[in-house]
Amino acid sequence: MEVVDISLRGNIILVNAAVLFFMLVTALTNSWQAFGYLTGLSLSLWLITGAMRENKLGPAVWIGVSVFVIWSVCITLIFKYWAEFRGQFPEFTIAGMHPGFFILFPVMWLLIFIPGTLSYALLFDRWIMTEDDWKEFCRKTGKEGEL
């Protein structure tokens, strides 16, 4: 088989393929807790894939790690409180909400927004698409002066 030079981003996609495969296995065997953590890992890898450059991770790794950590901590707590108070009114509530529900909404919902979506605007000018990136793109496509 021909040796193929795969970029760093390509390698991350391949790792994600392995994660997706195991997601399929855990889904079909109802290993929902494992599926849950793999879901967070896959989504984090997708985020890194989109946020990184071809061979440079830059802040993408921090965005991905943040999402994975937030997701993993939150679903661990969600699973814990769901199991602890299953079928009964919880021993304590937060603003009237079941503690597991409160972690799901609003905690995880708001926390994931920061690295998952807000970070795009914060990183845009200095990482995602700088002026130099734009000039380089115009140069590579022969569109300098036109765009």
Binding site: V4, I6, R9, G10, I13, A17, L20, F21, M23, L24, A27, L28, N30, W32, Q33, F35, G36, T39, S42, L43, W46, L47, T49, G50, R53, V67, Y81, W82, F85, R86, G87, P90, T93, G96, M97, H98, G100, F101, I103, L104, F105, W109, L110, I112, F113, G116, T117, S119, Y120, F124, D125, I128, M129, D133, W134, F137, K140, T141, K143, L147
Partner: protein, 490 residues
């Protein structure tokens, strides 16, 4: 029939929407403007339009109904937004925008064909889009008709003609430009409705303390983080509705409508933030309806989908009017986007893929004709289709995601992704979705552990793209066109 003020506000909404849609014609100068609103709008309009087209009528009626019936189960769909919109911008926003800067892009098949240098990919994607569009529109016909019929006191057939006639006319006149501009207006209406509903729901129930305690003491399952569903269901839903957002054509098409690459910057925040705000309606209306029933203020609902209507029955008339306008906005914004996408696939992509391109200066004319034909066909299908609508209606979010996600999320980020991988993933997506449809809807079988079948389809399609690409070479690496390569490397 509703109160006079409700009717007046709804009619006012219809008139304004129509006027805005027709006004968009001023922007349409080329076929690319008509089919894709190519480089026509800035950040705010496009981002709000993106959120509006994603938030369909389901978020106003179906979602609260599921909360009423199942508790928190369905929330794992709508709570995916904070990550889903970001993923869309990160994974494909920049790349789609850059490609549209150097190519006359007006459709997703245009992008797919440019990336994979394949008219077969264009054709397969166009067919997939048309099938999904017709299936989706079919499900909206009766739903939209019943809403307008109840509001205006007209019969169902007239109601269907009103809501979809208006949508058809402005979309036919100004294509995607009309769709985006009206989506922007409709998005604002939805936001006002959502915020109003949230405030009223919390006032009515005494805040989250009163709301959840009342419900929880009657049935604790309804307030826990899972509800009556299964963990496999909710976790797969979260996955499907985050990553799946990237593959939704009505989101992806917005990127080439942006005027400049700089317009990408605030898009995810505006779009995602708007969706998060409007999803509060999904969450709180369902729970508020439960609170009303448990508290004996209204009788128990015979159907969960009545939850939103039951909640509105306790609201002031002006609030009801705004929410109904929001609901109509949600239905029409998604419908117009899909009509535009389906028309573009039929007029531009399918003929092109068979080597028979419609003359460029006739494309807009044909676009108008096909918009009308497509809408009429969808109306007939939706009205008479019944059993077939119920089956095909399941082709929705997951179907689109499994078709386009491999092409966009992988194809635009990985130079190693090949034409053969794209064709394989597209074909598998179609076969799997239709196969699961037959398995579940025709044969009446159930997926194990309540796994959403489209989750399986999405994962398998992604794997197919990656694995097949490792063993093939078409349109990969050195074979990429230089401008496509530059967009992927940027």
């Amino acid at each position: 029939m509703s109160a006079p003020i409700t009717i007046a506000i709804v009619i006012g909404y219809f008139v304004l929407t129509f006027a805005i849609g027709v006004y968009a014609l001023k922007r349409v100068k080329t076929a690319e403007h008509y089919f894709g609103a190519h480089k026509l709008f800035g950040t705010v309009i496009t981002s709000i339009a993106a959120f509006a087209s994603i938030m369909s009528g389901f978020g106003f009626i179906g979602g609260p109904g599921l909360v009423y019936a199942l508790g928190a189960t369905s929330l794992w769909i709508t709570l995916a937004a904070p990550l889903g919109f970001g993923l869309g911008w990160f994974l494909i926003g920049k790349r789609v925008k850059l490609i549209s800067e150097v190519r006359p892009i007006a459709t997703l098949p245009d992008i797919a064909a440019a990336r994979f240098k394949s008219e077969a990919v264009r054709a397969l994607l166009a067919i997939s889009l048309v099938l999904g569009v017709i299936a989706y529109l079919g499900t909206q016909v009766m739903a939209g008709g019943y809403v307008v019929s109840g509001l205006l006191g007209v019969n169902l057939e007239v109601a269907i003609l009103i809501i979809f006639g208006i949508t058809m006319i402005y979309t036919s006149i100004a294509g995607m430009a009309a769709s985006i501009l009206t989506d922007f207006f409709q998005g604002l209406v939805m936001l006002i409705a959502a915020v109003g509903v949230l405030i009223m729901a919390l006032i009515m129930t005494g805040g989250t303390e009163g709301l959840f305690t009342t419900i929880g003491q009657k049935d604790p399952t309804l307030i826990d983080p899972l509800g009556r569903g299964t963990w496999m269901l909710v976790l797969m839903w979260y996955f499907v509705f985050t990553i799946g957002g990237v593959g939704q054509p009505h989101l992806a098409t917005k990127f080439y409508a942006l005027r400049s690459y700089k317009d990408l910057k605030w898009g995810a925040l505006i779009s995602g933030g708007s969706y998060m705000l409007s999803s509060l309606l999904w969450i709180f209306v369902g729970y508020a309806a439960l609170w009303l029933v448990i508290g004996g203020k209204i009788p128990a609902l015979t159907k969960p989908d009545q939850a939103a209507i039951a909640f509105l029955s306790q609201m002031p008339v002006w609030m009801v009017a705004i929410v109904y306008a929001g609901l109509l906005a949600a239905i029409m914004s998604t419908a117009s986007g899909f009509i535009s996408i389906g028309t573009a696939a039929l007029v531009r992509d399918l003929p092109k893929s068979f080597g028979k391109e419609v003359e460029h200066d006739r494309q807009v004319w044909w676009g108008r004709v096909v918009t009308i034909l497509l809408t009429v066909f969808a109306l007939i299908f939706g009205y008479f289709g019944k059993y077939l609508v119920a089956i095909l209606g399941a082709l929705g979010w997951g179907y689109f995601a499994s078709a386009t996600l491999p092409l966009l999320a992988i194809g635009l980020n990985w130079k190693r992704a090949t034409r053969e991988g794209a064709i394989a993933s597209l074909s598998l997506a179609l076969v799997l979705n239709i196969g699961f449809l037959i398995y579940e809807k025709v044969l009446g079988m159930k997926m194990p552990y309540a796994i959403p079948s489209y989750g399986i389809s999405i994962i398998v399609a992604l794997l197919a793209m990656i694995v097949i690409s490792m063993f093939t070479k078409g349109a990969a690496e050195e074979d990429l066109d230089p401008d496509i390569r530059a967009a992927i490397e940027a």
